[in-house]
C-alpha cells in the first residue's frame, strides 16, 4: 500500500477511483406450500394449485405464494429456483452457507429475523445474494457476513429494494447496486468493506433512494462512481470510515460523469478511521466527510458533518492517469446512461482531470474539520470557474477563505479566491495507515439491528413502486448524537 501511495504522489494526481431466469416451473410442492403457509397466504386468498386448464398465474398479489426455508425448500437457492414472479420467500432463523443467485423477477426474499437469519460466506463464497438482471427483486431483513465480494448485489436491474439488511466483513462492498435503476436501499447497516459499505454505480438517472442507513468502519462509507440523477442519500449515518460519502467520476466505467446526487440530512462524522480495510482510493480520501471527486451538480444540504482530519465537505478533482475516453462536454452531462454508452470513445493524450462543477453546498452544519469545514481544490484549474456555490452553512472556516462570500448561491460573489487557497495535491504526500486485511480487521462487534415490522405476516412487496417519495423539504439538520 505504501508503494501505491508513494507512487501516486509523484503524479499530479488525485486518484479517487471508487472502487463495483432460469427457474423451475412451479412445482406442486410450491403450491402446497402456499396452501399450508400461515398468515400471509390465508390473508391473501391463495388460489388452488395451478392446473393445465388454468391460465398462467398472474403476478398480482393474490396469486402469489409463500415458500418457507427450510420447511418447503431446504435452501434459499432452492426456494428461489422454485419461486414464480411475485412469490414471497420466508427464511427461518439459521446460518446459511450459500451464495444465492436470483434470476426471477419480482421476488421478495425475506428473513424472519434480521439478526438471526445469517448468510455466511465463510471467506470462500463470493456474494451473499446476487440479483442478475431480474427487476423488482426485494431482499430484506437478514444479515450477510464473510463474503469475498459483496453481501447483497443487484446488477443490471430495473427496480430493486434492499431493506433492513446487515452486511458485515465483506471483500468488496456491503450493499452494491451496479448498472441498476429505480431502487430503494433503506435501513442498511454496513461495516467492514475495504471499498464501500454501500455502493451505487453506473446509472443516470438512477432514481434511487438510500435512507436510514448506518455505514461504518469501511474504506468508504458510500461510493458512487458515475451515479446520479434523482439519487438521494438521506437521513443516514456515515461514521468511522476512512472517508464518508465519496461520489466520483471516471472513464474506467461507463456513464460518466458522476452528477446530480442529493445528499441531505445525514450525520457524517469521524471518518478518519485508521484500522479499516481500505483500497488505495479510500486511503487517499481518508479524513474527509463528504467528498465530491469530480462530481457535478450534486446537492449537499443540511447535513451535520464533524470531526475530520481534512475536510468536512470537499469539492476536489479526480485525476485519471490512464483514461478510456475524453471528458464529456457540458452538453453530454444531460445524456442518460444509455445514451452516453453509444458515444464513440476518444482516447485522450495524457491524463484527465475531472473537476467538481456546479455543486450546491447549503445549510450544512460543520464543526471541527481540521483542514477546512468546506474545501474547494483543483490541480491546475481555476477553482473560481467551477460554478460551485455555498450558502447558509454553519462553519468555522473554509478553504479558500470565505467561500460563502466568494460563491454564494443565487447571488454574485466577490473576493479573492487566492486567500486561503487549498493545496489538494498535498494529500498525495500523506502516508495514511495502511489497509488492514478485511478478513481480520478489527470491527465493532455486530450489534442487534432493527427488524422490519411484521416480517412473518407482511405481504410480499416487489420493487415495482420504488423509490419511495422523500419529502426533502421536511428534512432538517440532524442533531448531534450524544
Amino acid at each position: 500500500m505504501k508503494r501505491s501511495i508513494v507512487a501516486a504522489a509523484t503524479a499530479v494526481a488525485l486518484l479517487l477511483a471508487a472502487c463495483g431466469s432460469e427457474r423451475d416451473e412451479a412445482s406442486t410442492t410450491t403450491a402446497a406450500a402456499a396452501d399450508t403457509s400461515t398468515d400471509v397466504s390465508t390473508a391473501e386468498s391463495v388460489p388452488p394449485s395451478v392446473t393445465d386448464t388454468m391460465p398462467a398465474p398472474d403476478t398480482t398479489e393474490g396469486a402469489d405464494s409463500v415458500i418457507n426455508v427450510p420447511d418447503d425448500q431446504p435452501t434459499i437457492q432452492a426456494a428461489v429456483d422454485a419461486a414464480r414472479p411475485g412469490d414471497l420467500i420466508l427464511i427461518a432463523p439459521g446460518t446459511y452457507n450459500e451464495a444465492v443467485n436470483v434470476e426471477t423477477e419480482n421476488l421478495t426474499i425475506r428473513g424472519l429475523d434480521r439478526n438471526e437469519v445469517v448468510l455466511d460466506g465463510n471467506f470462500e463464497l463470493e456474494n451473499g445474494i446476487r440479483i442478475l438482471g431480474a427487476g423488482g427483486v426485494v431482499v430484506e431483513n437478514m444479515t450477510a457476513i464473510n463474503y469475498k465480494r459483496n453481501g447483497f448485489f443487484w446488477t443490471g436491474v430495473d427496480g430493486f429494494r434492499g431493506s433492513y439488511l446487515t452486511a458485515y466483513r465483506t471483500g468488496d462492498y456491503g450493499v452494491y447496486a451496479f448498472d441498476s435503476m429505480n431502487g430503494q436501499l433503506e435501513h442498511v447497516y454496513a461495516a467492514g468493506s475495504p471499498d464501500a459499505g454501500v455502493y451505487i454505480g453506473e446509472c443516470y438517472p438512477c432514481n434511487t433512494v438510500l435512507t436510514d442507513t448506518v455505514s461504518e468502519h469501511n474504506g468508504l462509507g458510500y461510493s458512487g462512481t458515475n451515479a446520479g440523477g434523482n439519487l438521494l442519500i438521506v437521513n443516514s449515518v456515515f461514521r468511522n470510515n476512512r472517508a464518508g460519502i465519496v461520489p466520483n467520476s471516471g472513464s474506467y466505467e461507463l456513464c460518466y460523469p458522476q452528477r446530480e446526487t442529493t445528499i441531505v440530512g445525514n450525520i457524517v462524522h469521524s471518518n478518519n478511521q485508521p484500522d479499516t480495510p481500505a483500497i488505495d482510493v479510500a486511503l487517499l480520501a481518508m479524513g474527509n466527510g463528504i467528498l465530491s471527486a469530480g462530481g457535478i451538480r450534486n446537492d449537499i444540504q443540511r447535513n451535520l458533518v464533524y470531526d475530520h482530519n481534512k475536510s468536512g465537505i470537499g469539492l476536489v478533482p479526480f485525476l485519471e492517469e490512464n483514461p478510456n475516453d475524453d471528458l464529456p462536454t457540458k452538453d453530454e452531462w444531460e445524456l442518460t446512461c444509455e445514451e452516453s454508452k453509444s458515444l464513440p470513445l476518444v482516447t485522450p493524450e495524457g491524463a484527465l482531470l475531472w473537476d467538481s462543477y456546479e455543486n450546491r453546498v447549503i445549510g450544512n452544519v460543520l464543526e471541527d474539520n481540521r483542514q477546512g469545514d468546506i474545501i474547494v481544490g483543483s490541480a491546475g484549474t481555476d477553482v473560481s470557474s467551477l460554478g460551485n456555490c455555498f450558502a447558509g452553512n454553519t462553519f468555522t472556516f473554509t478553504q479558500p477563505n470565505n467561500l460563502e462570500v466568494l460563491a454564494p448561491c443565487d447571488a454574485t460573489g466577490s473576493g479573492d479566491w487566492k486567500d486561503g487557497e487549498y493545496n489538494v495535491v498535498a494529500w498525495l504526500l500523506d502516508t495514511p495507515p495502511p489497509s488492514v486485511d478485511w478478513q481480520t480487521a478489527n470491527l465493532p462487534a455486530l450489534q442487534p439491528q432493527e427488524n422490519m415490522p411484521d416480517a412473518a405476516t407482511a405481504p410480499a412487496k416487489p420493487a415495482i413502486d420504488v423509490p419511495y417519495e422523500v419529502d426533502l423539504d421536511a428534512v432538517t439538520v440532524p442533531s448531534k448524537p450524544t
Binding site: 501505491s4 486518484l15 472502487c19 469475498k148 466505467e253 461507463l254 475516453d325
Partner: protein, 294 residues
Amino acid sequence: MSAVRCVAALIAVIAAGVACSSEPEAQPAHLHTDATSIGQPDRVIAGPQGGVPQFVVECAYSHAASDDPIVYPGQPGQSHLHMFFGNTEVDAFTTIESLVDGDTTCDNSLDKAAYWAPALLRGPEVLAPVKSVAYYRPGVDVTPQSVQAFPPGLVMIAGNAGARDEQPLSIVAWGCGRGIARSATPSTCVEGQNLELIITFPDCWDGARLDSPGHYAHVAYSSGGRCPDAFPMPIVQLQFVVEYAFTGDPEGLVLASGGVLTGHADFMNGWDQATLEQEVRLCIHREVVCGLSS
C-alpha cells in the same frame, strides 16, 4: 479493418500455420513453435468496463518455473521461464486431471484453471507480477446467448511465442493500469499505473478437440460476430492480463520467450465445470456485469 486487409491477414496467418505444422513437437526452448489461431478479434478489446457482460477472476501470482505442460509435457526445465497464476500445482507433468488436486490463487476458489505467461525480465532480474486478471466475455459482437463455457479439459494458447514482428494488438498488447491505450511494446507507465501484458484468447471452438497439434488449430477468433465454419461453437472469450510491479522506462525489458514482441499466454481449463457454466449462463447469457477488476 477492410475486407482486403482481412483476407491478407488471414492468408498470412494460414501461411504461418502451415509453416509451423511441419516443425517437430518438441524443440529447444529458444525455438518456440511459431503459430497462432486463425483470425483475430475485429477490434482491440479495451475501454470502460460496464458496457459488456462479463465476469472477472483475479488471481495472485503463484510460482515460476521453466515448465510448460502444454508445449513440453513431461519435460521439466525445457521451456522458457513462465509465471503461473491460478492453480498452485502446475509443472511439466500437470494434466487436466491433476489440476483438481491443486489449490488456487484466484479469488474465485472454484477456478482452479492454470494460467501462465512468460516471465518479464530485465537483464538477469525477474520482474515480479502483482496479479493476473481474467476477464470472461462474449467475443466482439457475438450474440451473448450463443456463448458456451469452455469444455472440460480445453487447453489453449493465445499469442505467438516465436513472433519476430508485432502481433495484432487485438491479441497481444501492452498497457498501463486501467487505461485504454495499447501498444505492441511495453509502454512507459506513470507511477501508480502498472505495466500490463494483455492477451486475448480465441472465442470459437471446433466442437471436437480439446487440444491440437501445435495447440492452436482447434480454436479460432470470430469476425463480424460469427465463428468460422470449421469452428462453429462460440466460447466465452478469455482476456488475460498480467500486471507487473513496474512503471517507468521500459528499456531493456524482455520476455523470457524472447523479445517484447513474443507475448503469449496459456490456459488449461481446470474450472469447476458447473461453476464455469453457471457464470456463463448468469452473467454472459443474461448480459449483466457480474464483476469489475479492481
